[in-house]
Symmetry: C2
Subunit: 163 residues, 2 copies
């Protein structure tokens, strides 16, 4: 033993062990040649396969051998996983950046649209004013100083604007 490994009260139920690493994670592989001593692998595995119960092992319920650290298989799996992890993380980061970019684009577009709205609104108001003026002119022309007739004044319409 080397560490107390006190009871874990946290939700984290990881294993909490690591050993040496340091290898070139290239596709190639330079396996360790010779290592002297030092190999604390909690080797708490059964001896023979029949320990599982001798049955046909339905859903397969057995303790996994703590992954033989020196196994060739193990190193291979690790390397593959490391690669996958790197890939996944890169994509994740890329996605984040893309999202950020999207935000910027959308913001720009928004401004564009708002500007257009402003312009259209202005145009509309101008046209409406023209209309009103016209109406007044008409009213003044149609009812010249001929006399006082009880005709109702020009009907105005000023309710066409909705937020």
């Amino acid at each position: 033993m080397s560490r107390p490994s006190q009871a874990k009260l946290t939700t984290s139920d990881h294993n909490g062990v690591s050993v040496i690493q340091s290898q070139a994670h290239a596709t190639s592989s330079s396996l360790p040649a010779a290592v002297a001593g030092l190999q604390q692998v909690p080797q708490l595995v059964p001896a023979d396969p029949s320990t599982t119960g001798g049955k046909a092992l339905p859903p397969s319920k057995m303790k996994k051998p703590p992954a033989d650290k020196d196994s060739d298989e193990y190193r291979q799996r690790r390397e593959r996983n490391n690669l996958a992890v790197k890939k996944s993380r890169m994509r994740s980061k890329q996605k984040a950046m893309d999202t950020q970019q999207r935000v910027n684009e959308l913001k720009e577009e928004n401004e564009r649209l708002e500007a257009k709205i402003k312009l259209l609104s202005k145009e509309l108001s101008v046209l409406k004013d023209l209309f009103l003026e016209h109406a007044h002119n008409l009213a003044d022309n149609v009812q010249p100083p001929t006399g006082a007739d009880g005709s109702s004044p020009a009907p105005n319409s000023t309710a066409t604007n909705g937020q």
Copy 2:
């Protein structure tokens, strides 16, 4: 010696060593009581401080002691860092989610704006049509079957639409 630690050709110049861990990263601390044997710490540090050159060590250029694994200080630092890391990652994730949210909001707003533009455009076209109609009516009224007068027709204005 414990591990080959082969020459690192990769850009990564990490250290590449880890040992056992597993501790509750709570604010409290339950220090390890007793640990037996097992302590492979590559203790390749100078003996006395004068090794640095005996000078006043300007930019301070000395190899860091590989962090005594069992040191109390060490564990404390690690724990703090682990906490910081967790915090940082949480914030990072949160930020990512916020950004995503922002995208959704902006998209909605965009649709809203586009709808408004559509509406305004329609209103505008209606008004313009009304105008044209009016102009025609005027033309028909101002120039009744009285004869051919060389008056220029109603000045139309149809160039007010941008983009």
